[in-house]
């Protein structure tokens, strides 16, 4: 066991896997000498050399395109996109190419690239260093989308992502990079992609969340407990595929659902969870399915604190659901 934060968990897990897998390559802007702007790749250049830890020119489509080509030839490229907000120059490579290679080639050319990227607000970054656009990627068949909410999950999920035969978007909650520290086992363990984690069991309301918002939900739990609401908190961990079974089971028990995410609300992934629940468990529902989400504006700067869903907003939604 070692106590570490999320960024350290990323760093160790990359290092361990690079030691194990000589075909693994890390590439991206400033990942080498600089160790990444968040330090997630610190030390890798020294240990593995510039051929395996590749500082690229400033071009996201070049990074992802090159990673795809590496992967088709048998390497395991793990690309870093400095901020999720800067992934769009590579959007064509991701949605048109990476996501479809296996399918369009009839299985001849599976492209397995892991794209790591920090996302989410809370770092005073304004709208180009704060967005959460997981829904774009979830809505793109062929991509796997994963997001951890703790150092422990980071290790287990990142390992699974790197061992998966499919392309994986690995979304890292940057606001939590250094705020949560916990024991992480030193030995290898895989957290299965597609399985949710029931963070806390409860009987009154199901609270579904993922990524950085899980932490906010956790902070809302004692507040809810104080008001005698028994909340079952589910951390989806994996957004595509997502573990609808765990959600539905919970809803059948509680009859009430709140979904919390940081992304803007309209057409966010919360809508999918809501739609799935009302498709599969409408008779169990005792209240409207409530979404707590980012407001439908570009991510603000000065007013970031009012923009981000806080434990109080979640509490309010829980109250609304439970008192309906």
């Amino acid at each position: 066991m070692t106590v570490m934060n999320i960024v350290q968990a990323v760093n160790r897990t990359l290092r361990d896997e690079m030691r194990r897998n000589g075909n693994m390559i890390v590439l991206g802007e400033d990942v080498g000498r600089d160790g990444g702007v968040f330090r997630a790749t610190e030390g890798l250049l020294d240990e593995f050399g510039a051929e395996r830890v590749v500082d690229t020119p400033l071009s996201e489509d070049g990074i992802v395109g090159m990673a795809i080509g590496m992967s088709l030839y048998g390497l395991l490229p793990v690309a870093e996109i400095q901020f999720m907000d800067f992934i769009y120059p590579a959007f064509n490579q991701i949605v048109s190419e990476l996501a479809k290679f296996r399918y369009r080639s009839g299985g001849q050319y599976p492209a397995h690239v892991v794209i790591r990227t920090p996302y989410g607000g809370g770092v005073k970054g304004g709208h180009y260093h704060s967005q959460s656009t997981e829904a774009y990627f979830i809505h793109t068949p062929g991509l796997t989308v994963v997001t951890p909410s703790s150092p422990h999950d980071t290790k287990g999920l990142l390992l699974s992502a790197m061992r998966s035969p499919d392309p994986v978007m690995f979304l890292e909650p940057k606001r939590l990079y250094r705020t949560i520290k916990e024991d992480v086992p030193d030995e290898e363990y895989l957290i299965p992609i597609g399985k949710a984690n029931v963070v806390q069991e409860g009987s009154d309301i199901t609270l579904v969340s993922w990524g950085p918002m899980v932490q906010t939900c956790k902070e809302a739990l004692p507040l809810a407990a104080k008001e005698k609401m028994s909340v079952e908190l589910i951390d989806l961990r994996s957004l595509m595929p997502f573990d609808i079974q765990t959600v539905i089971q919970s809803v059948k028990k509680t009859g009430r659902v709140v979904v919390a995410h940081e992304a803007t609300k309209v057409a966010g992934f919360g809508a999918e969870i809501s739609a799935q629940v009302s498709e599969r468990a409408i008779d169990s529902l005792k209240a409207p399915i409530i979404r707590v989400a980012g407001y439908d504006t570009p991510f603000p700067y000065a007013l970031e604190n009012s923009y981000l869903p806080k434990p109080e907003r979640i509490l309010k939604a829980l109250r609304k659901a439970s008192s309906y």
């Binding site: 020119p57 071009s59 590496m70 992967s71 080639s105 299985g107 062929g142 597609g194």
Partner: protein, 356 residues
């Protein structure tokens, strides 16, 4: 910048420039060129008859395809273009496999998942084509990087049109190739048009080959209607790449003799004079003249080859048309390595419906 040419339009040639190819190979090249020409014509006809859905011909571009493909090793990788049936054939893809792709039938290794001319054959290191113009170039750079990393002695070639040079992804790929000095060859087949846009309005640069300088490596201008020049240029580039010399951009100057695709009418945007002019530069006529001058081809051999090619096409089409379409279930596989629950639900639902 000078343009490399070995054989002139009238079949005269510069013996000092002739590449070192066996007579056998020269004849094979010619046969492939004929096959590509007739393949194009036949497939366009099938498309007009509604027997295949969509087709893009490469008539006029046979020399650039066949010449460059001849310069590659079996183990080299190719990110070919939709105008490269000749490259596929030279690399060993059976004619039937190409026709299967156009028919999108159950024998297509791509499982009928893509529009016609989107070739892709793992067995021959031909990487599955996609439609978005320009996005394959950086992938080719990545493959070249990987090969170099693994110390495999292979070169990665990617072929694309003049229009593709305008995409941002062209730039990223060229830049990465220069920075990482990988064994990649960029082959731009400048056929003068991107659908309706003539190349002089695609870019204000004097030519395309010179764009390589901006990335720190060499650009080469070659007569793409001259199969020997096309061979030579590619051979030099792959030799250089293989020996650690890094990337090359080749601009093969050629002409799209037909429409952009089976849905295009080029008379709207170009003149008959222009097309007539380029007919006088036809790569096949030129090579035929060369071979005859060299005594490697007679009129009767020529006729026989054409007949063989025709027969091969007719019988192949017949065979491909016998193959059934892909199974319904195949619509749902290969999205992921393992089928996730939500796709399984959808597949089950559809299969259930059809089972009723």
């Amino acid at each position: 910048m000078e343009m490399l040419q070995v054989v002139r339009a009238d079949g005269e040639y510069d013996a000092k420039l002739e590449p070192n190819l066996r007579d056998e190979d020269l004849k094979k090249m010619y046969r492939y060129m004929l096959l590509v020409r007739r393949f194009n014509e036949r497939m366009l006809l099938l498309q007009r008859q509604g027997r295949i859905g969509f087709f893009i011909e490469s008539t006029g571009e046979e020399a650039a395809q066949v010449g460059s493909a001849f310069a590659l090793a079996r183990s080299d990788w190719v990110y070919e273009s939709y105008r490269d049936p000749g490259v596929c054939l030279v690399r060993g893809v059976p004619l039937k496999t190409l026709v299967d792709q156009l028919m999108a039938n159950a024998d297509d290794p791509n499982k009928g998942r893509q529009m016609g001319v989107h070739w892709g054959y793992r067995e021959w290191n031909l990487v599955s084509i996609s439609s978005p113009v320009g996005c394959r170039l950086s992938q080719a750079v990545g493959t070249a990087y990987a090969a170099k990393f693994k110390k495999d002695n292979i070169v990665c070639v990617t072929s694309f049109g003049d229009g593709a040079t305008s995409q941002g992804e062209f730039h990223s790929a060229m830049n990465f190739a220069g920075v990482f000095k990988v064994p990649v060859v960029f082959l731009c087949k400048n056929n003068q048009y991107a659908i309706s846009l003539p190349v002089r309005r695609q870019t204000a640069s004097a030519n395309i080959a010179m764009k390589a300088e901006a990335y720190g490596f060499e650009g080469v201008l070659v007569d793409g209607n001259d199969v020997l020049a096309s061979y030579k240029a590619m051979k030099a580039a792959v030799d250089k790449a293989r020996s650690g010399g890094g990337p090359t951009l080749i601009e093969a100057v050629t002409y799209r003799m037909g429409g952009h695709s089976s849905s295009d009418d080029p008379s709207k945007y170009r003149s008959t004079e222009e097309t007539e002019l380029w007919k006088t530069r036809d790569p096949i006529t030129r090579f035929r003249r060369y071979l005859m001058k060299k005594g490697l081809l007679t009129e009767s051999e020529d006729r026989r080859t054409l007949e063989e090619v025709e027969n091969e096409l007719v019988s192949t089409i017949k065979e491909s048309e016998k193959v059934p379409p892909p199974t319904l279930y195949s619509m749902f596989t290969d999205v992921y390595a393992e089928m996730p629950w939500h796709i399984k639900e959808e597949a089950d639902e559809l299969m259930g419906e059809k089972g009723q």
